[in-house]
Amino acid sequence: MRQFFAILKDSFREAVDGFVIYLMLALSVLLVVVVASISFAPAPPDEALPKVMQNFRMIFPDRGKSAAPTGVPVEYKTADAEATPNGAKFVLTAASPKAPKSATADAEKDGAPADGFRYAVYAWREPAGEKNKNPFGNRPGGRNRNQNQRTDLEFVLPPPATAADLQTVTDADMAAFIKDQFATFAGVGDVTVTRRPGVAEPEYQFDVGLRDISGARGWPHAISLFFGSVPPIKGVPLGQALQFIEDVIVNGIGAAVTLMLSVVITAFFIPNLLRKGSVDLLISKPIGRSQLLVYKYVGGLTFIFLLSAVSIGGVWLALAVRSGQWDPSFLLVIPVLTFTFAILYAVSTVVAVFTRSAIAAILVSLGFMLFLYILGQVKSFFDMNKVTNIMEAPDWVYTVVDTANNLLPRYKDLDKLTSKLVVDSTLTPGEVRLGGLLTDYPSWSGAIGVSVGFIAIMLALSCWRFSRRDY
């Protein structure tokens, strides 16, 4: 352990010796400051509610537990909207879009009984109906080799209902439905709903009270940058703004830049160690060579770990303070980014041990990064092509792409998975589920397992070479 920490400390010294690390730290701090300058103010209820309720026609059956949505057209209107401290109070009116006909069994034919709202609540309360077909359809010759990619999108039909079925919907069901819709599409959890008596069905009125709207993921917010010195951007749901900052700016652009710069800086560590005159000093110490190399490898990882801890931790903290969203999932991007770097650094290490050249290590690792990125894109394309069959491709192309993807580290998958972490921790449950329908997420175990295997092989190869070589 003492040796391990000694080498970590040495790597740290080596890292902070150059100016590049300070440049990167300065950029990180700048990013954190810019993020901290953003303020989020919830939009007033009369502006926000119509936007939020646009989504209410979408219903997740089975009391919101179904993964696949269905839709029932109902018109929702608000009246007498008033802001309360960190909340809102208003009258919600739900009405069927069509002229009310009696909800008869023949209405089942087109699937939408005339009392649209009761039917919506019924569809929400009951288990999901039949699955809809893939809306893209499988074209003739389309492939269904479905490895881990979804080949048909899931929607469910609302269940059939008779007029008598609709009468089983109680006021409590209606209140629960409205609460669930606010939770699902606005991320507002604290909702009170009371049905107003004396309104002729199929129109329904409710007194609704919302609390804790500032910080609610789906609630539109006004976003101002640079401590309010520029005019705010209005009406953006808070979660989407956070997701953009965390996923696109930090986890996307920021991570790519950090990875590339880190590859360049750390690529010098091992060739420096192997330089004539330096290497004897270390390998004459009472430490095994493989141990030395692996410690040194881990030392290289601490570099990006510290850097991403500063930038991601800082951005997270700034956003949490500013927006009131304290979900810590985004912090998991720190270890995942470090792990992604571990894949590249393993390649850098092998090249460094075999060639002792930092330039070769940089070129090969960056080339490998690009290659994995392209492979990920190609894989996505062919997965899509299985469904849509846009491009005719012989079977072997699929085999090659799938095999390469299965054997090589899942650089792209890790990226998708961190995006999912961010999505899950910023967007509303409704957006998350809809997003899940469109995107297929790889598994953590697969992505990490194969990558760990790859790293192990690279390190084993490096250790083998390092241990046997005369210096």
């Binding site: 040796q3 080498i7 080596e14 330096s278 000093l281 004459s284 009472p286 005369d470």
Partner: protein, 324 residues
């Protein structure tokens, strides 16, 4: 148990035979010097002992472990030739790093590092980056890092390289003190005058072979050559001595003193007896010695000066110092 022991040790780098069956033994408490021309294989021998290169054949042991075993290196301090310390360290932090690798506890390191650097005379600069050190300062630092963990054996590959004369004397005295404290020192050097001053035993390598080994006295003694002179006013009986089979020549600069070399296996005693029998007074009898340098040059005579060339199948051999 010997501190260092090799038996028929061989090392070949590709087609270059750097060591061709070297057997040496270094006992505890000795200062042992390894001499040889450039490219003779001295550094290679050390590197095999420390596991920096692997041996091709034969045996090598260090402090009771097989050479190359990390445990063997725990009690060894090593100063490599042409070392390059990482420039991002200060003298202090480098010592701290290496000390931790040797397993020296942090508290001991804090105490010992300034002490050791003081010993080699660079304590005043211990908080400057190594890249600002002069060559000799780096060399002194190199010696310090080899001593920090109080090793049983210190291996120094050209320790006084780049050090000024005063510093060289300090280093010599340091080695003497270490020896007095029971440490063993194994040393490569081209400065024969120094080696002669401090080493107990020396070995001479030539083209990867051990050509001489022994105490300094052994090496510098010139077997069978004596200087003799009789009392003033008396005549040295050169002819009578020659009749006994000895070769007698007057020293060019001192005509009254004669060099007497005897045939193999003979001792000087018959000459002494002859002088006494003749009633002559023996005033001067010295076994002739060489300086270590003369002995060394005599040993490696014939080799081209400077580089230990090793013809192999008519092929010109690689250069000095070793490319890797």
């Amino acid at each position: 148990m010997s501190v260092i022991e090799t038996r028929e040790l061989r090392k070949t780098y590709g087609r270059i035979e750097a060591l061709k069956g070297v057997s040496i033994r270094v006992e505890k408490g000795q200062i042992y010097g390894l001499l040889g021309q450039n490219g003779a294989g001295k550094t290679t021998l050390i590197k095999v002992l420390l596991g920096i290169v692997s041996k091709t054949d034969g045996e090598a042991g260090l402090l009771g472990h097989a050479a190359g075993d990390p445990a063997a290196r725990r009690k060894v301090g090593y100063l490599p030739e042409d070392h390059q310390f990482p420039g991002y360290h200060t003298g202090y932090s480098l010592m701290d790093f290496y000390g931790a690798l040797y397993g020296v506890p942090a508290a001991d390191r804090r105490r010992k590092i300034p002490e050791t650097l003081e010993l080699v005379g660079i304590a005043g600069r211990m908080n400057s980056k190594i890249r600002t050190y002069s060559k000799g300062m780096k060399q002194r630092l190199g010696i310090a890092q080899a001593l920090l963990h109080d090793p049983d054996l210190v291996i120094l590959d050209e320790p006084t390289d780049g050090v000024d004369p005063l510093g060289r004397r300090e280093i010599r005295e340091l080695m003497q003190r270490l020896k007095d404290r029971g440490h063993t020192i194994f040393l490569n050097s081209h400065l024969l005058g120094e080696v002669e001053l401090i080493c107990d035993r020396v070995a001479i390598l030539q083209q990867g072979k051990l050509v001489r080994e022994g105490t300094i006295a052994d090496l510098t003694r010139q077997k069978g050559r004596h200087e003799m002179a009789v009392a003033p006013g008396q005549q040295f009986p050169a002819d009578a001595v020659m009749k006994l089979g000895y070769v007698v020549t007057p020293l060019p600069d001192r005509p009254d003193v004669f060099e007497v070399s005897m045939p193999d296996g003979q001792s000087i005693d018959p000459v002494v007896r002859l002088l006494l029998d003749k009633g002559l007074g023996l005033r001067h009898l010295v076994e002739k010695k060489q300086s270590l340098e003369e002995a060394f040059l005599a040993t490696v005579e014939g080799a081209e000066p400077g580089v230990d060339k090793r013809p192999k199948g008519g092929r010109r051999v690689r250069q000095v110092g070793g490319r890797d």
